[in-house]
Amino acid sequence: MTHLDGNVLAGPLSELFSVDMTVAVGRCDGCGDESVLAGAMVYESGPDIVVRCHHCDDVLMTIVRGPGDLRVEMRGFGMLRVPL
């Protein structure tokens, strides 16, 4: 299976955030690109997710599902702007 895009993050991130995060704009630490999370590249491996910058491919975020928790690493986001 090839990659997907940030639209599929809506469900998993709804477990953590009370508003839809796919419309949030993130700034990539690697290249400075500012885009909606819905436009990021998403790679799934079982229940785990890697989110990469659509422009430079740097890892923005990882979501790893454990037996009793959800581990989120916001590795490449310098900033996230969420419309309210």
Binding site: T2, G6, G11, S14, E15, F17, D20, V23, A38, P83
Partner: protein
């Protein structure tokens, strides 16, 4: 530049149980499924849901599916294409029966969405089962009486692989132009040979960038990325091109 923030889409994270109300064969590999979900409350055109299947050994698989309907209320419609090496799609297309229950989370997604309050022209571009969220948009457009100009470009392998064929034929009109691209087999008497969508056909069949349309592109990842690149080359602003990748090739 000032923009108005779109209405916030609440993110329902609670898993609900839906019951299959009906199933309908759409193509040799695809099926549409009506599901009743108490408490669903309707969804916007273009939104998706997550489906969770659990095996007896505790293994769980979660997949996102675009919703073909955009009605208020607790009944929704999915349309699923069976992927050759799929884990979940073969079950939904071949095994699922009326009365079966499904775990569903949603409605989800606030980006790949069309609201009837939008007045700009809309270009829909779908490949294969990518038609599903675009169908929801076409239905919402018709139901709301919106006068926004809508065009659809639908790329499929053959006439047999069209989802919602009858409904699309009925929706097609001077206000909703539909262009078909057949990549492997055309209908009898079709004026052009079968072949993949090309930048030239894309340009000829879609609303020009000068009309400032919002463009929604959905289908297999490769299809979506090629089309999105061509649209930007045709001078559509990147921010006006919204994409939803279904994976696959």
């Amino acid at each position: 530049m000032t923009t108005t923030a779109p209405p916030v889409v609440p993110a329902p994270s609670v898993w609900k149980v839906g019951t299959v109300a009906s199933v309908h064969t759409e193509t040799p590999t695809g099926r549409s499924i009506m599901i009743d979900v108490p408490g669903w409350g309707g969804n916007l055109a273009g939104q998706h849901l997550d489906l969770r299947l659990s095996a007896p050994d505790g293994y769980q698989a979660v997949r996102s599916y675009s919703i073909a309907s955009a009605s208020p209320g607790d009944r929704l419609e999915l349309a699923v294409d069976r992927l050759p090496d799929g884990e979940v799609s073969p079950y939904l297309v071949d095994d699922l029966q009326v009365g079966d229950e499904l775990e569903i989370r949603g409605p989800l997604g606030g980006w790949f969405v069309w609201r009837p309050t939008q007045t700009e022209p809309v270009q829909l571009i779908g490949g294969g089962s990518g038609i599903v969220p675009l169908m929801a948009m076409a239905r919402a457009h018709a139901a709301s009486g919106s006068t926004a100009k809508f065009r659809l470009l639908y790329s499929v392998r053959s006439p047999h692989d069209v989802f919602f064929a009858d409904e699309l034929a009925a929706l097609a009109s001077p206000d909703f132009e539909v262009t078909w691209v057949y990549t492997r087999e055309t209908p009898p008497g079709w004026p052009s040979p079968a072949g993949r969508l090309s930048p030239a056909v894309l340009e000829a069949a879609t609303i020009a960038a000068s009309e400032m349309p919002t463009v929604f592109v959905c289908g297999p990842t490769g299809f979506v990325e090629s089309v999105a690149d061509w649209l930007v080359a045709l001078e559509h602003p990147a921010a006006s091109v919204k994409t939803e990748r279904f994976g696959g090739k």
